[in-house]
Symmetry: C2
Subunit: 153 residues, 2 copies
């Protein structure tokens, strides 16, 4: 199968901006009820009384939400081979229902894997901002991507 993007297409320093998307209240509640039912994620009254002053999305939801933006942006057109992990996540400001979130991804490191010929590793940094230009979340994580040369078609 031929993809649009391979490892060579993500040089160090390259920046991608993904289409902003609104974090819907029902999605916040649904994710939290399934995976992270802490009161400030699922209960308006408890959230108002908490240090957050209102409902906030689970941090894991924020990551998953960013992942979907990445998938819809270019990952599904990329020869992606999964991820061995993440170096750091910082949840810097709450993500709240109705927030309009945008994601930027910057390639921090790129190298070929000696252990897997034809596969490259990328370390990318995500920065998510809200509609007030507040930094909501940063993440640095790895992704493996097949090289174009290895998948000549």
């Amino acid at each position: 199968m031929a993809y649009l993007h391979y490892w060579e297409d993500f040089p160090v320093g390259s920046v991608r901006d993904f289409a902003p998307r609104t974090l819907e209240r029902e999605d916040v509640l649904d994710f939290a009820r399934r995976y992270d039912p802490q009161p400030f994620h699922i209960d308006d009254g408890a959230a108002r009384a908490s240090q957050f002053g209102g409902l906030i999305a689970s941090g894991w939801h924020v990551c998953a939400f960013a992942m979907r933006m990445l998938c819809d942006g270019d990952l599904l057109a990329t020869a992606g081979m999964g991820s061995p992990g993440v170096e750091t996540i910082r949840w810097r400001a709450p993500a709240r229902p109705g927030d309009h979130l945008r994601l930027r991804s910057t390639v921090m490191q790129a190298r070929l894997l000696k252990s897997r010929p034809g596969v490259g590793l990328l370390l990318t940094r995500w920065e998510m901002h809200n509609q007030r230009d507040e930094l909501v979340m940063t993440m640095e994580g790895y992704g493996m991507v097949a090289c174009r040369g290895a998948h000549a078609d």
Copy 2:
């Protein structure tokens, strides 16, 4: 409100084992369709043809799944105040539909926050294993927890 557990109840070195739980196929597909629709997460045929040899859960799903185990274990009875972030995640082996996963959490660091009297920070390490005792995922992340003294009731 009185909780069962406060920051003082999680000393460095303390270990908690959470009830094992089965990763259901429908949950794997549902999470991936919403948040991480890469072919090896949502399409049996494409997953079989991939380097994974079959459907695997999104790494973000594995984290969310662990989070729910933590909530149901003791977090919902704890004076938790959210998390500023994660130091590292490693997805070491695929989590597959039907896997029976268990989670251990170990407190690595604990300190009081100067900036927020009455609040303590914990760095905890998660280790998730499957039914074959393979290490599936490790994570080290922070959690803020209110101190018992600050919430005398």
